[in-house]
């Protein structure tokens, strides 16, 4: 048997970090399963909560935005579907972002007691929110059928936008997760950011509503604008509004942020145990 040799030195970047990460994929699976199965323990509705919650949110949104605020739906698209598409992808981003940000601090007891590539913690949170998202997506499909809205070839682009949303949640979440270890202020800040984001992103409306304003060119710099519009566009047969320019911004910003966040996280992870 080949003897594995480990060298521990200050500041020594783990040469086999990515290989280690891959080797620990079972642990990733187990950590994710832990988070999934723990969540609805001792509840009566159990896993149906992950269906009930987005459904209830949608009902409230439809009521508030279409009946009271009278936001216009785009021609040919039922307003509830438009909102539900927006909520589905937004919830994925927001939950992923929130859970990833607190992933390291939530697992403080592990950080101080065992070694494993620390990226596993945000990754497992990301997996958990991905599972929630897939359930919500299924729900969307069912409701779309109720409205006799059958997606067409545009849906081929769906994985791209899902990947982008995943990347955005991971990039922002990872950055805040590393920061959160040292500065617990982050924990207070995140719900606020998510709340602001909900209105600043085209969740309950499409970007068409703000297209005419002079600040639109800044508005679409928000990577989530392109992602949400694009997600809706690919689900709703390309009928809803999509600014191609905003997708370019999304891709560019998400890739850069991912790169920055991962290197930030890696540079901080060795001192997590001292700060946590």
């Amino acid at each position: 048997m080949k003897v594995q040799e480990t060298i521990i030195q200050p500041g020594r970047a783990e040469r086999h970090y990515w290989r280690d990460l891959w080797r620990n994929r079972e642990l990733l699976y187990i950590l994710a399963m832990r988070d999934v199965s723990v969540r609805y323990k001792q509840t009566i509705l159990g896993t149906s909560w992950s269906v009930v919650r987005p459904l209830a949110t949608m009902l409230v949104m439809v009521l508030v935005f279409s009946k009271i605020a009278k936001l216009p739906a785009e021609p040919g698209i039922p307003y509830p579907l438009m909102v539900l598409a927006g909520i589905t992808i937004w919830t994925f981003f927001a939950n992923g972002f929130t859970q990833i940000s607190s992933s390291v601090t939530m697992n403080a007891n592990l950080v101080t007691k065992v070694y494993f590539p620390r990226l596993l913690m945000p990754l497992s949170s990301a997996v958990v929110s991905l599972i929630d998202f897939l359930i919500a997506l299924g729900l969307f499909m069912v409701i779309a059928l109720v409205y006799r809205f059958i997606p067409d070839w545009h849906i081929l682009f769906l994985p791209l936008f899902m990947l982008l949303a995943f990347g955005a949640a991971f990039a922002f979440g990872l950055f805040f997760a590393a920061l959160n270890v040292r500065f617990r202020d982050i924990g207070q800040l995140i719900p606020f950011l998510v709340q602001v984001g909900f209105y600043a992103c085209p969740v309950a409306y499409t970007s068409k509503l703000v297209e005419g304003y002079w600040w639109y060119k800044f508005y679409r710099l928000n990577p989530m604008v392109g992602i949400i519009d694009g997600f809706r566009w690919s689900l709703l047969k390309g009928d809803s509004y999509l600014d191609p320019q905003s997708i370019i911004y999304s891709v560019g910003i998400v890739v850069v942020c991912l790169f920055v966040s991962i290197s930030f996280f890696r540079s901080r992870e060795n001192s997590f145990v001292d700060d946590i």
Binding site: E5, I8, P10, R34, L110, T112, V114
Partner: protein, 419 residues
């Protein structure tokens, strides 16, 4: 072949005292950066309030394959920091470590156990955290459950477990790890006596199969039973290493906070009041051998002397022997008799084979007319009673406050003959 080579490992922490600039909240961090950028940096003041603390300092040693190495030292001596460095949890400030083989660290029993998950789920969770593959866990599953004795509760959330079951399950998982090097911190301090014995036996079996073990414990008896080599740490430094019995002896000599004599030459400086003042209190052990430390066998005398400043009073001395945690083991008083002004003294004999191993303090109280305490000298003496056993293969903590050798016998009453 040395499997672990540690060279000049140090770990430094910066302790920020109050009002210092070590940013702990975002606001601090922002104002700090602001000051730096706008040139209103007051670093000079704050530098003074930062203090360096070396949790480990220039530690070097090497461990051969199959060694069972005990690590002893006070709390805060750096033992746990060392284990964490070896487990890759903490990054050292300087130095390097070379480890050959797979390491399993057991710094806590039941690491990562989630209270809501069942025993079965937690076995997989904890096992993978400790570095086992699912395949390995499946193979060992029955053995783990059997060792822990929790068959009936496998599908119960561990939050419903008794603390004993929880600990047994945690240890059982780690005992079935199969690494070349095992790092163990204080796990024997938990669980009941029977389970401790089982755990220690399991660890010895492991080492018999050529496994290297690093073992931190406050239980010197367990270290002596298990380890062939021992490292002794103090204030982050490795001050002694070598053969276990030798190192433990020097550790015992060094750590004893023992205060066997308190004496004040004149009444003016002595503690007390206008009525009585303490002159001296002394504990005189009668050592059984030339190792000068008190163990459970050692008889002791407590000698006391105090000044009586009153013309004539009925006095007695009340002696409290307390455990270090403050419980009174016993209280004994002399007879109350009339004494005149002057020095009064007396002695109490504590027989051998009476106190259990542990740390104790002695307080003395002068009482007038058997009801009025005149003066109490709290914790005047402090001493440790070490463990000592003969012909007993069990090394767990002996329970109880006292360990008397009172007559206790057993005999065979009837022999069943084979027909």
């Amino acid at each position: 072949m040395s499997v672990i080579t540690v060279e000049n490992i140090s770990k430094q922490y910066i302790i920020d005292h109050q009002r210092s600039k070590g940013a702990t909240t975002l606001r601090d961090a922002l104002t700090q950066t602001g000051r730096k950028w706008f040139g209103r940096d007051t670093d000079a003041n704050n530098q003074l309030e930062r203090e360096e603390f070396w949790a480990l300092r220039d530690v070097s040693f090497s461990v051969e394959q199959g060694d069972r190495v005990g690590i002893v030292g006070h709390n805060g001596a750096g033992k746990s920091t060392l284990l964490k460095v070896l487990s890759k949890i903490i990054e050292p400030t300087t130095g390097s470590v070379r480890i050959k083989g797979r390491v399993a660290s057991l710094l806590e029993v039941g690491t990562g156990f989630h209270p809501e998950l069942t025993g079965r789920e937690n076995i997989f969770l904890n096992g993978s955290l400790l570095g086992m593959t699912r395949q390995e866990i499946k193979q060992q599953f029955d053995a783990i459950v059997d060792f822990a004795g929790v068959e009936k509760f496998l599908d119960t959330p561990v939050k419903r477990y008794s603390s004993g079951m929880y600990v047994r399950l945690g240890f059982a998982i780690s005992a079935h790890l199969n690494p070349e090097i095992m790092i163990v911190d204080e796990v024997l301090a938990v669980g009941d006596a029977e389970f401790q014995k089982k755990s220690l036996g399991k660890m010895r079996d492991n080492s018999a199969s050529g496994r290297t073990i690093l073992f931190v414990s406050h239980n010197l008896t367990a270290v002596q039973a298990l380890c062939n080599k021992t490292l002794f740490f103090e204030k982050g430094q490795l001050i002694e290493q070598g053969e276990t019995n030798y190192v433990i002896q020097s550790y015992l000599n060094k750590i004893s906070k023992t205060k066997l004599l308190r004496e004040w030459a004149t009444p003016e400086e002595a503690p007390g009041n206008d009525l009585v003042r303490i002159h001296r209190v002394e504990l005189i052990p009668e050592y059984p051998d030339d190792l000068h430390h008190i163990d459970v066998r050692t008889p002791m005398r407590v000698r006391f002397e105090f000044w009586n400043r009153m013309e004539r009073a009925n006095l007695n001395l009340s002696l409290h022997l307390n455990s270090i945690t403050g419980e009174c083991i016993f209280n004994i008083g002399t007879q109350s008799l009339p004494y005149g002004k002057g020095l009064i003294g007396g002695e109490c004999v504590i027989p051998g084979y009476f106190l259990n191993d542990g740390s104790y303090t002695i307080s003395v109280m002068v009482v007038k007319d058997t009801v009025t305490p005149l003066f109490t000298l709290e914790d005047s003496l402090t001493f440790d009673v070490e463990d000592y056993r003969e012909g007993i293969a069990w090394y767990g903590k002996w329970p109880g406050y006292v360990r008397p050798q009172i007559p206790f016998e057993m005999e065979s009453l009837e022999i069943e003959t084979l027909k």
